[in-house]
Amino acid sequence: MIGLLIVGIILLFGVVVVQIGRVTDLTAKIRGEEAVSRSITNSQAKWLMVFCVAFLVYCVASAIYYKNSMLGYGPHEAASAHGGDIDSLFNTTLFFTGIVFVLTHVALFWFTYKYRRVEGRVGIFFSHDNKLELVWTIVPALVMVFLVTNGLVVWNEVMPDVDPNAEVLEFEATGYQFAWDIRYPGPDGKLGTKNFRLINLANNPLGQDWSDPKNIDDFHPTEIYLPVNQKVRVRITAKDVLHNFYLPHFRLKMDAIPGLPTYFVFTPTKTTEEYREELSKYPEWQVPADPENPNGPQKWELFDYELACAELCGKGHYSMKRIVKIVSQEEYDEWFNSQTGYYIQNIRNTNDDPFKAQLLPYEVEARSQELLSEVEAALIEDDPSTISINLKNVFFNIGSAELKDDSKYELDNVAKIMSEYNDIAIEISGHTDNTGNANSNIVLSGERATAVTQYLTEKGITSERLKAVGHGQTIPADTNDTVEGRQNNRRIEMKIISQNL
C-alpha cells in the first residue's frame, strides 16, 4: 500500500514537472524568447545576490548558535596540555579562511549580479594580467607558509615519543570488535609482554605472557583513571582489525593496529570535576539529565570524558565506549591501590600459572608484613607466651628433619624480626599429625624444631634466645581425619617466651 502511494507520488511529481516544462516553453513562445530571457536574467541575478547575503548570514548565525557545543569554544576548553595549541591553530586558520570565504563569495555573486546580461553589450576583452596573477599566487603562498609553520611547530610538539627514561605514566588500550580493553602496569610501572597466540577469551583476553614477572601486577580496570597534570603515554594496540583510540575532549586520536603498537603522549589538565563545573555555568547544561525526572541530577553533573573508536571496524563501530576519569593525584592513588592484578585474580595457582606452587616475591613480601604484625600483636599482650604464631610454609621432606629451600624465606623473616626486636627470646615448637609412631613423632618434631633454631643461629641469632621443643602429635591444631586437617597439624610454631633479655 505504502509502496503504491510512493509510486503514485513519484508519478504525480513527474507529471507536475513535465507540465511546468510545457508552460515555460509556451510563455517563451507567447512573450518572445528575448523578453523572457531578459526578465529571467534579472531575477536570477537578484536571487543570486539574495542567496549570497542569506548564505553568509546563515553561516555566521549558525556558527554562533552552535558555538558552545563545539570543542574549543564555550565550556569545551581542551582538557589536555596540547589541546589548546590545536584549538588556537584552528582559530588562526578560521580567521584567514573566513576572510577569503567572505571576500570571494561577495566578489563571485556581486560580479554575477553587476555584469548580468544586457542585450547588445560586449564583454570586456581582459584575458590575462601577470601582475594580478602574481599577487594571487604570492598572497596565498605567504598565508600558507604562515599556517604551515604554525602547524608544524604544534605538530612536532605534540607528536614525539617520551624519553625512554622519563617519568611517565603508561597504560595500554587494546581495541577489538567491539570494545576496548584497558591495562595498567601495576605498582612496578611496567607493562608485561604479550603474545597474540596466548589470547584466550576465558582467562587471558590480552594474551599476556604469565611467565613474564612484569605481568603479575598488571590490572584491567573497566574505566580509565588518570591523575591530573601527569604526563601519560598510552600504548595503543588492536586484536583483530583497525580501531582508533579517540578522546575528543583531549584532542587525541591514534589508530590501533594489530601487530603494530602505536602511542600517544598527553597530559590531562582538567579533572572531570573541573570540566563539570565549567559546564554548570551554561544554561543548556543546567537541565535535568533525564527529562522524565525533573528532580534528578542535572546534565552537567553526569558529564564524563568518553573514549570512542574513530576508525571503521565493523558493524558495532559506533558502540566502543569507555569512561575516562581525570582525578587528583590522591584520588588516583586511592583508586590505583584498590585495583587487583588480573593475574592474581584469575590466574594465580590455576593450571595456567607457570609459578603454580611457587612463591612469588610479592607473596613473600606480603607474608613478611603479616608475620611482623602477628609478632607485634603478640607483643602487646600481657603474656605473649600464650600466643602461638604459626610459621607458614616451613617444609621438610616426609620423615626427614632437613629444611626445604622454600622454607627459608619465612625463617629469614623470623631472623629479621628478632634482630629488630633484639630483646626477645622465642620457643620453636614442632608438631606432627597422628600418622606413624607417637614416640618417633615426638623425636622427629623435636629434630625439626632444632633444624629451625640451627638455621636461625646461622643467620646470627644467638642460641640463648632460641629454644626448640618437639610436641609430636600431642597438640593438634585441626582434625586428623582429613587430608587438609593432617596437613594443618604438621607445622612449626613460634612463641615469644621472654622479652626482657
Binding site: I86, I199, Y318
Partner: protein
C-alpha cells in the same frame, strides 16, 4: 585572404578545412548497419559518451538513494523503517511486539560503503570524465573519433561489466562489502570480521579491477588522441581548458590506478592465498590467525597513492567544464588561460606527493607527516589561482544566467567552501582533532562531491544540445539548480559543526555517546534536506529524459555562440563528426569580446589587424 566579418561555418570549413579523404572510406556504414552496432557496441565516441552518461546517471540514482536510506537512520534512528522491508528484506530487522523495523547495522555500513564506492568511481570518475572526455576530446580537437574507437568501446564495456558485478553484489545473502570505500584491511581481508568482507568483498575487488581496466583503456586513448589527433592549427596552447583538464586527468589516472590494482592484488593474495602482506598478529572470533609480519599501513599507502590523485581525477574535469562554461556564458575569455593550465599541471603533480595526509593518524612516523603537510598546503596556491581567475572571468562580462552558468557559478562557490576547509584538514596538528569526524565528511562532500556534480550538471546542461539536438527545459533547470544549491549547503554545512563537536563519521547512531548524541535536531534537519535535494535530482532526471524527445529543438549549430569546434558540426552529426573537411584552427578558444565582436570562433582565420599584432 581577406578579412572575414560575417561567416558561415560550412563555407569556412570547406575553404579552410583539411581534407583527410574521410569520405573515400566506406567504413562508416559498418557502424550504422544495425541497431546493435549503432547504439550498443558502438565505436562512435559520441554514442559511447552517452552510454557513459546514462550508466553514470543510473549509478548516481542508486548511490544517492542509498544515502537517503542511511540518512533516515541517522536523522530518525527510532522511527520505524518497516515500510522499506519490501525492498530491503531481512536487512530491516522487525520487532515482533511493536512492529517497528530497524535498519541492520551491517547493512547500514554496506550502504555507506556502496554509496562511497559508487559515487566516487562509477559516477564521478566514469560518469563525469567518461562522458565528457569522450564527447569533447574528438569534437573540440577536430578529430573524427578517438585514436582507437575499439579500445574506447571496450573501455565502456569494462565499466559496464564492473557495474554489473557490483550490482550483483548488492543481492548477496551476506550483503555487499561493508568496510568503507577505502576497504582497509584487516576488516576487508577477513570474512570473520564482517559478513560483507566475504563474497561481497570478492565481488567488490573484481568489480573495481574491471573498472580500473576501463579507466586505463579510456585514459590511454584520451592521451593518444590529444597528442596525435589535433586538427591543423590546434597547438596545445590553443586547446580549450576542458581538453587540458581531461588530458591531465587521463595522465593522473594512468599513473595512479595501477598502484591501486597492485594494492588490490596483494589484498586478494592475503584473502585467498594465505599471504601476510597486510595482516599480522590477529586474534578474531576466538582464534589466533597464522598471519604474521604484514602491515595494514602498507595497504593505506597503496590505496591513497591512487586515492588522493583520484579526487583530482574527479575534480579536474569539472574544473575544465566550468572554465569553459563560465567563459562562454560570461562572453569573456577565461582569465589567465596559461595560469589555469599551469595550475592544472601543478595540482596534478602535487596530487602524487600528498597521499599520506589521509594517514596522519594511521600510525605512520610523525616526522614523515611534516613533508606531507607542506606539499598538501601548497596545493591551496594553484587552487586559489584558479578560483581568482574564475571570479575575474566574471568581472566585466555580459553574463547569461541560464542553467549551465548557474551550476558553474555554484561550482565556484562549492569549490571555495570545500577547498578552504581542506586547509584545516591538511594541517596535521588540526587533523588530530578533525580526522574521521563529520568535518571531513562536510569537506570532501562539498569540494569533490557536490562541486564535481555541479561541474557535471553545468556540462550536461551546456552540451545537452550537442548530444541530443534539443535543449533541456530552462525553468526546470533553474528549479533544479536552486534546490540543489540550497539543499547541498543545508546538508553539508551543519556537518562542519558536528565535526567540530567531535562527532565521528561512520556511526550507525550517535546516542551511545553523551558527547555525540546532542545533535538530534540537526541530524533531522540534514536528513530532510537530503530528501529534498534527492527529489530535485529526480526532477533533473525527468527533465533530462523528457527533453530528449520533447525539448526545444536546436535550430542553429551554435546556440551558445561559442568559439570551439564542437559547435561547427552538423546538428545531427554522424560518425566522423564533420561530413566533409575537418575544420582547421587559427586561434585559441577564448576570443570573446575581442575587437568589439561578441565572439570569434577558432576556425576563423586571423584578421589583418590581428596578424599585425601577432608580428609584434
Amino acid at each position: 585572404m581577406s578579412e572575414v566579418t560575417t561567416f558561415n561555418e560550412e563555407v569556412l570549413i570547406e575553404e579552410q578545412g583539411y581534407d583527410d579523404h574521410f569520405h573515400e572510406h566506406h567504413h562508416e556504414d559498418k557502424y550504422k548497419s544495425s541497431f546493435i552496432f549503432k547504439y550498443i557496441f558502438s565505436l562512435d565516441h559520441k554514442i559511447i559518451a552517452r552510454q557513459f552518461l546514462f550508466t553514470g546517471m543510473f549509478w548516481a540514482i542508486v548511490g544517492s538513494a542509498m544515502s537517503v536510506i542511511f540518512r533516515l537512520q541517522l536523522g530518525f534512528p527510532d522511527e520505524s523503517l518497516a515500510w522499506l522491508k519490501p525492498m530491503l528484506g531481512r536487512w530491516i530487522m522487525m520487532n515482533e511486539e511493536t512492529g517497528i523495523g530497524t535498519l541492520d547495522p551491517q547493512f547500514y555500513y554496506a550502504l555507506v560503503t556502496m554509496h562511497g564506492t559508487i559515487i566516487v568511481f562509477f559516477v564521478l570518475t566514469a560518469g563525469l570524465s567518461g562522458t565528457f572526455s569522450n564527447l569533447l576530446i574528438p569534437l573540440q580537437l577536430g578529430a573524427r573519433d578517438m585514436a582507437s574507437p575499439l579500445l574506447n568501446m571496450l573501455s565502456y564495456w569494462f565499466f559496464f561489466l564492473a557495474g554489473l558485478v557490483m550490482f550483483f553484489s548488492l543481492f548477496l545473502s551476506t550483503g555487499p562489502f561493508s568496510g568503507g570505500w577505502v576497504a582497509y584491511p584487516p576488516l576487508s581481508a577477513l570474512p570473520q570480521a564482517s559478513s560483507g568482507s566475504g563474497a561481497g568483498m570478492t565481488l567488490w575487488l573484481v568489480s573495481l579491477t574491471l573498472f580500473v581496466v576501463s579507466v586505463l583503456l579510456g585514459g590511454i586513448n584520451y592521451i593518444t588522441t590529444v597528442l596525435n589527433l589535433r586538427t591543423k592549427g590546434m597547438s596545445l596552447w590553443r586547446m580549450p581548458l576542458t581538453i587540458w583538464a581531461f588530458f591531465v586527468t587521463a595522465i593522473i589516472g594512468l599513473l595512479s590506478f595501477p598502484v591501486l590494482v597492485s594494492g588490490f592484488f596483494l589484498l586478494i593474495a592475503d584473502r585467498s592465498l594465505g599471504t601476510s602482506f597486510y595482516l599480522s598478529e590477529i586474534f578474531i572470533n576466538g582464534q589466533a590467525l597464522d598471519y604474521v609480519g604484514g602491515s595494514p599501513v602498507l595497504y593505506q599507502h597503496l590505496f591513497w597513492f591512487l586515492g588522493h590523485p583520484e579526487v583530482y581525477i574527479i575534480i579536474l574535469p569539472a574544473m575544465g567544464i566550468v572554465s569553459e562554461v563560465l567563459s562562454v556564458h560570461a562572453r569573456k575569455p577565461i582569465f589567465g588561460y596559461k595560469a589555469m593550465v599551469y595550475s592544472i599541471l601543478a595540482i596534478a603533480f602535487l596530487s602524487f606527493i600528498v597521499w599520506a595526509h589521509h594517514m596522519f593518524m594511521s600510525g605512520v612516523n610523525p616526522f614523515i607527516s611534516n613533508f606531507f603537510v607542506i606539499f598538501t598546503l601548497i596545493i591551496a596556491v594553484p587552487s586559489a589561482v584558479k578560483v581568482f581567475n574564475w571570479i575575474t572571468t566574471l568581472w566585466g562580462g555580459n553574463i547569461r544566467l541560464n542553467s549551465p552558468m548557474l551550476f558553474a557559478i555554484g561550482f565556484v562557490s562549492m569549490f571555495i567552501s570545500g577547498g578552504l576547509t581542506g586547509i584545516f584538514l591538511g594541517n596535521s596538528a588540526i587533523d588530530i582533532q578533525l580526522h574521521d569526524t563529520y568535518f571531513v565528511v562536510a569537506h570532501f562532500h562539498i569540494v569533490m562531491g557536490v562541486a564535481a556534480f555541479f561541474g557535471m550538471f553545468a556540462g550536461i546542461y551546456h552540451w545537452y544540445p550537442r548530444m541530443f539536438g534539443t535543449f533541456m527545459n530552462e525553468t526546470l533547470g533553474r528549479i533544479h539548480f536552486w534546490m540543489t544549491m540550497i539543499g547541498a549547503y543545508a546538508i553539508f554545512w551543519p556537518m562542519h559543526y558536528l565535526g567540530m563537536a567531535g562527532v565521528p563519521r561512520r556511526y550507525y547512531r550517535f546516542d551511545s555517546f553523551d558527547a555525540f548524541g546532542q545533535f538530534t535536531t540537526m541530524n533531522e534537519f540534514i536528513t530532510i534536506a537530503a530528501i529534498v535535494t534527492f527529489a530535485a535530482q529526480i526532477l533533473f532526471v525527468i527533465n533530462f529524459v523528457w527533453s530528449i524527445k520533447n525539448g526545444k529543438k536546436m535550430t542553429t549549430k551554435n546556440p551558445w555562440l561559442a568559439t570551439t569546434l564542437e559547435w561547427t558540426t552538423p546538428i545531427k552529426a554522424g560518425h566522423g563528426n564533420w561530413p566533409g573537411n575537418i575544420p582547421t584552427v587559427h586561434r585559441w578558444a577564448y576570443d570573446y569580446g575581442k575587437d568589439g565582436k561578441d565572439f570569434i570562433p577558432q576556425i576563423m582565420p586571423l584578421s589583418e589587424k590581428e596578424k599585425a599584432e601577432e608580428v609584434h
